[in-house]
Symmetry: D4
Subunit: 232 residues, 8 copies
């Protein structure tokens, strides 16, 4: 049972993405050595779903070991996005274009922030457009022009999740819907938003799992890279 | 087992509504005598969820019995609304105001028509506004002024069911959302639309069961009657 | 990521409702500035789903900032309704009539209280009728006369949620059913009550999301305002 | 694969019940020999969920075989209850008392009839009280005195299924709730009624599977037999 | 909002049961006065789903008020059954016969104990038969003779919940199945056990809500009282 | 779109199993050429979930084509198992031991027969033990000795699906539970049986999808082959 | 109720897509005039989910009306894709690159064909790669090189739906997963495949509703257009 | 209520398995005496789902009682597997062959460890193969040769749970899939993985309940014992 985690170090070469660590069900003692090994392999090292207590525990583990103590200053916790990184992101790739991340309400912020962090970690620029939920439609309609330059739109919404539907009916870009697990009653856990996005009457809306900001960012990265190949 | 159906003949006095017959799981042999007894009691006689074959079977049963054969000309099938009526509706009550019934798409028409028929049967005027789904938002935005005189809005939608949410964010009247069982995959059966309406971020949207055009009409009737009481 | 929340300040003019803050998934640091900005805009400032600890944290944040410290005395926590308000409600509008809020049992009280607080905040008077669950039917039957003057009835119930059905079979007014998430086993989370209300055999019962006392109040407000328009 | 069905011929001695054949997923070719064998063993032979076409097919199979042709006159189809019997029921046992079967609406009739047939087949008398759904409560309240002599109440209801709850809050006898699969939207298939009965706020309501009129009858038979033992 | 709980004090006369307080969602401040009022009305006072901390809080509230301090010695917490009582149970009624409560495993004990406490509170004697789950069938088969004198069998089981099915196939008495919310994966929350009991191939098994030991006891009480009436 | 189906002809070498055709969603025009190509490759050719009408259509297609008309006599429909085969099964492998397939009731027969056919097609002998459902437990207990020589037990059951649990508590062999989609209400579609088997309190019960007689047979084949390897 | 369908004729200008008619719940009498009006507006006219009988009925309606009889030769039914078109598709746009549509099995073909037809209707070229399900992994691994030139991959799969996950772990392009409603038991209706794709451990997999081949095509079109913009 | 737990001490003789204690819903006071009694009966004593705090509490209970204090040194907590044992496992049985336990990711480790501990406790050797999830397929493909000598493969996976499907398509041995409750959104609780494994397109994959590492080990033990019998 002492076997080491088997990392997928060829992932960047194969898919153009780093292997991020999904931190939610892992202990600090499991996360710390994976971060170190990723960095030692020349890969950008990022863990998602890491709260502040776990981030501190990772820092303490690195500090307690002579072989890794020097790495502590490179460890950075991103509280809003619940991310933990070691070292630097990939260099910026402005030629791929940028992404706009929209959110229906303030409560969707952690998911939007996770998407932005994941994009940043792969060198992709993004903007955040907060609080454009459809109950006050003018807030979104007033921003449409600002969305036109974006190559991909990521729309995060909880409750009934109608934002991506309305957005995809107004704008021609790829729209990735991210259901968010805020809500209560029938929307608790994000199922109503998920089903609303999948059932959307707007054509060509693509969806990822509830709260999966990271996945939305990677779907956007695939799209941007495909477009870049087209351009060359 | 030969007991006769126990009708709720005081319902109109108590609630201001006639007792409509829910025809879906009843045979023609069960529906025919109830219609006759309702009419004989001076009540408007209406059955919902009656398809054409069952309507014809009811007509044949009435025609075959000397005591009821004279009623056949008063029997009327409403194919779009799937309703079957015997005799006349209640007289018009224009002083209560009117209702607008909106639908997201053509496929929602049977449910919208059931709501209109039920309103008409209680003397309430209504208008239909078809095909104003949110995938082409301008279709709804162009109609808002026409909605202002209505006392109640009934919004029927299948798929993700976002129409009532967008509507309730734009207009101040009572909005009753009716989820419609059109769709496939996660929207099959109308569950996605139902959950989307219940989870709506728009404040004060009230909801009835899937496909329940009749119920939406009765909720509107309660509202109109309550307002009329206020006015007096 | 430092963008400010985008408030819907025209909501009262458009819909006749203030924009309440849904506090459940927001931090004190997010709630405090929104309350301040709402008040500064001349809007009644109300947050729902705020427990006592979060309310105290908001107070401390306001107190710690010179620009807002003077507002602390206007901050009020409503423990039973789990609401937090800054400043005064809208002035009373007795001409719109009043609402009766019924509850099946004592455990439904927080939801009933939320509905009453939301009505009060919009100037609407309400009465509470507690513990009229259908297992002891005489408790409700004894109160029917007292319900007649009300313009709208809001019925909160957990478990099997039969109260709104029985009520809507007895009284002609608009009845808004609010399923409550008390119960265990199949009624845990309020799903059994929600489905029972949607499937009701009583005609014209309208339903809102589980525990959505605020939404029921806003639906009632739409009805009262519509009736007022009728009266004028 | 030619093995004969393994009948549970000791069931009556062990449990006081005959082994009824659940006919829904069986072919006429499977049902016919089981009926014959049950009768040959001196057991009352009853199959449930047999529609008219299948009943005719069984009759034809019996008629076509010289060894069984003489049994055809003893074969009886009970269309309302969807039952098929061969030979006679058990003799009446009036000393056990009788059962009242209530139904919310006419559409619940097949389930109520199945319960009555199963009771009759075990020698138990029953009465049917039709159309006492809670949307017109006076219909039930007017009948309470007639229910007092019954030893067990079986209450069949679809839609929201509130009838057994209201009944069990009014009467002291054992109440067995039978959810019925009539309804649409959230009540389609009888799930809302089932959950409503299980979640009932009325104490001591016992429930059987959706549409399980036969099971309700057998639960009543267990109760009556247990009371008879008490009496001796 | 200061209205007092509306107690159902005629319940014992009407149904033969006391009104027990469901304590799970009530505060100590809500429970204490209800217990006092029930006792003052001459009713046995029992609350279910009260853990030790809440029981102590109730005791402290009673002690702190001069009018109720003298009642504290009559307050009794039943930890295994999670019940809190004030004063004495109803006197024993041995003429009604006794109940056996069976449990599949040790983890079902709290539910079984709740059933036993509720029976005891109504004067009914019961025995407990623990750990007779069907994975080791001989444990149950060895006990069958001891079950024969019981008038009612209550069978509590989590996981797949097969115990009541096997029991009802072996014994002729009324069997009440109580699904228990122990288990994980598909059996988490007791849904698998509930569905297994409802779908049982054993005839006449009646079921109550998950973890509803109190309801099973009240169903048994209805049966015992009905039998007693038969006997007289 | 005219591309030919891509067969997995190395499956037998890799896994020891032939590639059976899942016929349920395929047309006769799709099934016929795959059967022919499998046979031409020297593979035993078997399609599952083929009803009689589709089998006849396949025969007609083969007959209509000169290149395949000679194959028609080798085509065989297995009505109980709903299978369609072309040519011969694999030769018997008695050294691997045999399997017993048990069924709770007659309605489970098609699933049990599919398992037996699939075993036969791979050279494995099997016996069928019908109607040993747990409502009449003695029927199973009387057969235990006959089960001892079997290497694997496959237990098919609908309704509550308790048979595999009871069996796995009594016998030491590998037990594979197959939930069957017979039942109504909560057991409709086989979900209750599936969950009951997964939640089983009997240790080491393995489960396959609802109605998946073929899959159970293949799991048994894997076990038998693994044991044979052990024996050599 | 005679209002005409409100078409979204600006959709192509706004989103780059034509408005396809969702034909499943529409009658031939509703579909025919919409096709005619779309064509009259210069839009490519396409209806999805139209079976052969409905297609013939549309043709007959057009033929019966002198104003439209001349259009019949332009009407074309696409049986595999279940599509009905009037007139010509948009001209080819090879500069946008092409799409590969993969399917796990032959039963997924209708969904894959719908995606291909929708792409073709918008001028996009596509290839089909059939039967590359993961149970015989070599079939997919052998085709990877052929996938490299594609700009977008659409992967259709029923059952457990693992194909898009495996594909997205191997290839860097945008991958759109389409769950297909083939399967039985837990995979009936496509829910298992849908959840498997949303829960995928492969990063950046985007998903559309079950059987939504049209939606997958439109998501691909958005991506291709976005890349084209990048290229210019 | 003081009855002692009824242990199934003949289980090893009957089934070849010890009776493990499922510790999750039991208190330390319930677990301690069962462990002692098992050991006193000569049975290996093992409890599953025991966290460190409960293990310490058991140790303290044993230490506090003179009759059991001497046993404390034999008590061992297995933190990764969440197991608690008293005394020694059964002696090694290398002649039965060994098992390989695979896991998709590090988060699946507790379930894999529980399976290994349960095997070890019955004398079965096992190896762990960690982190071979299908998002980086080469990690699994590189290990296939090492899997050939194993008699049984146990594959643990959360998220979409595709690992057992891919594995069962590549290797001929018995494969037991164990869904793991790691994931979020649609995969929260392990339902997506469970359904994916049951719906698998790979033939002969057998499945146990979510997180049921113990059950998978017992299924493997049944297989190994059956093979051993074959060999003798």
């Amino acid at each position: 049972m002492s076997e080491q985690a088997r990392l997928d170090l060829q992932r960047r070469q194969r898919l153009g993405m780093v292997e991020a660590i999904w931190g939610e069900h892992k202990t600090a003692a499991q996360i710390a050595p994976i971060l170190v090994r990723l960095q030692a392999s020349g890969e950008p090292a990022l863990a998602t779903r890491v709260d502040e207590a776990k981030a501190i525990a990772v820092a303490e583990l690195l500090a307690a070991d002579g072989a890794t103590a020097a790495l502590v200053p490179q460890l950075q916790h991103h509280p809003e996005a619940r991310g933990l990184s070691l070292g630097d992101p990939l260099p910026p790739r402005p030629e791929l274009g940028h992404v706009v991340v929209l959110s229906g309400g303030t409560s969707d912020l952690p998911v939007a922030a996770e998407a932005q962090l994941a994009l940043h970690w792969h060198g992709i620029a993004s903007e955040l457009l907060l609080d454009v939920g459809v109950a006050g439609l003018h807030r979104l309609l007033n921003q449409l022009e600002g969305l036109r330059p974006a190559k991909v739109l990521i729309a995060c919404a909880g409750m009934e999740g109608a934002l991506p539907t309305v957005l995809a009916g107004l704008m021609p870009q790829p729209v990735i819907g991210v259901p968010v697990s805020v809500g209560y009653g029938v929307s608790a856990g994000g199922q109503a938003a998920l089903h609303g996005m999948l059932a959307s009457c707007a054509p060509g809306l693509a969806v990822v799992n509830i709260d999966n900001g990271y996945g939305a960012a990677m779907a956007a990265l695939r799209i941007l890279s495909s477009g870049a190949a087209a351009a060359s």
